[in-house]
């Protein structure tokens, strides 16, 4: 949590330490839930690795497979999300143009993030199928051609 702010001296681990990290006292139910979450993330990772090594199932349904660079980035994103406790996406799928989309369904909310093959990214939030918020970002640096 500390690392996401601009604290300098008082960031955890330098000046302050936890006396008793809560994870040491996780209940069996919590540990079971944590294992289930890890398993579900692994399903997503396996799906992405599957596209990377053998995109034929996508080609058979005439869907352009995601580009390798996008898959590799999506794998890094999943690793980061898992580390920080991001809630699991309910679906991961090709965007039909070489990119990858992640979708979350939390009725009446729907959200998605799309990593496009051109290095652009878009996130959107809907409530009852109506747009609420959206944003764009770059996930790949833009290089200036000389």
């Amino acid at each position: 949590m500390n690392a996401t702010f601009n604290q300098g001296w008082t960031t955890g681990g330098r000046t302050y330490d936890w006396i008793d990290p809560s994870s040491r006292f996780a209940s069996p139910q919590l540990r079971e839930w944590q294992q289930r979450e890890r398993d579900r993330w692994q399903v997503i990772v396996d799906l992405l690795l599957g596209w990377r090594s053998d995109p034929s199932p996508l080609l058979e349904e005439e869907t352009p497979p995601p580009e390798i660079a996008v898959i590799d980035h999506a794998l890094r994103v999943c690793e980061g999300w898992q580390r920080v406790g991001q809630s699991l996406p309910d679906r991961v799928l090709p965007d039909g143009a070489g990119g990858i989309a992640f979708e979350w369904y939390r009725e009446p909310w729907f959200s998605d993030v799309e990593f496009e093959s051109n290095g652009q990214g878009t996130w959107r939030v809907y409530h009852d199928s109506r747009p609420v918020d959206r944003g764009q970002f770059r996930w790949k640096p833009q290089w200036v051609e000389l």
Binding site: T4, G8, V77, G80, V84, V113, W123
Partner: protein, 269 residues
């Protein structure tokens, strides 16, 4: 909101920081960051590099926080974060491709310089940064997020001795807890408040921690950090945001403390 903010003669501050997130500039390199910090002069010394925060977003509308901040640009190569510390070790300037932050460190013998003074210092550094970039043709600073944070520390022995006493220190945040669960060993908590829709968010963290400086000892750390979008993308909205964040922090800090704690800290309403 009242125009006069409460003050404390002896605020238990260990750190205050003001920061602005800006859209990363495509041609800015770590070498430029180093050059910028070097221009602070010989009385400033470099600190170890830190990992870049990257770009983040603060949910300030009614949309639920479905995506954790800073998780979309995990691999965006904004480089590293460079930091420098002033001669008296009471100021830190942090810069990365996407953030500029000024930190003040409290400690024995150090008076808190007050927000107005810190804000003016930060504005100077921000202007210097903008000029630095413009002179080198590296682009324009377009701020998109403001951040202001106050870190307070309550050492054991001052206002609390046993953890259960902390309820008395922050009565509006904490309750007495269950009596049958056993002896309270440690606490931590986070609260997030929407300052106003579209304006900003105040997060309050309470953490029981062990600190190493100035001496080893238990403490309770109370952090209040406000953030909000700079939607207009130009300077005055940034300063307005920081002022709003500061106001929210001060008002909330005063409200959270017990009367006893306020007296101890020299509260002036």
């Amino acid at each position: 909101m009242p125009t006069e903010l409460p003050t404390f003669d002896r605020p238990p501050l260990t750190e205050v920081f003001l920061a602005a997130q800006f859209a990363p500039l495509p041609q800015l390199r770590t070498a430029h960051l180093g050059e910028f910090l070097s221009a602070l002069g010989p009385t400033w010394s470099p600190l170890p590099d830190a990992p870049a925060l990257g770009q983040t977003r603060e949910p300030v509308d009614s949309t639920p926080e479905w995506l954790l901040p800073g998780t979309l640009e995990i691999d965006l190569r904004t480089g590293t974060r460079l930091r420098a510390q002033s001669a008296g070790a009471d100021r830190m300037l942090q810069v990365e491709n996407g953030w500029l932050a000024l930190n003040w460190a409290g400690g024995p013998g150090r008076d808190y310089p007050r927000f107005a003074a810190l804000s003016a210092e930060y504005e100077q550094q921000y202007e210097r940064w903008s000029c630095f970039l413009a002179e080198r043709g590296l682009g324009t600073v377009v701020p998109n997020l403001w951040e202001v944070g106050y870190v307070n520390v309550f050492p054991r022995g001052e206002l609390w001795n046993e953890l259960g006493d902390i309820v008395g220190l922050l009565p509006r945040l904490l309750g007495s807890g269950p009596g049958s669960a056993g002896a309270l060993q440690t606490i931590s908590g986070r609260w997030a408040y929407l300052i106003a829709p579209g304006v900003g968010r105040l997060q309050v963290f309470v953490e029981h921690a062990l600190r190493h400086t100035p001496e080893l000892g238990e403490c309770v750390q109370l952090r209040l950090i406000a953030r909000g979008p700079v939607r207009e993308g130009f300077g005055s909205a940034l300063w307005q945001g920081l002022a709003i964040g500061h106001e929210s922090i001060v008002q909330t800090f005063a409200e959270l403390l017990s009367d006893k704690a306020k007296r101890h800290l020299g509260y002036r309403p």
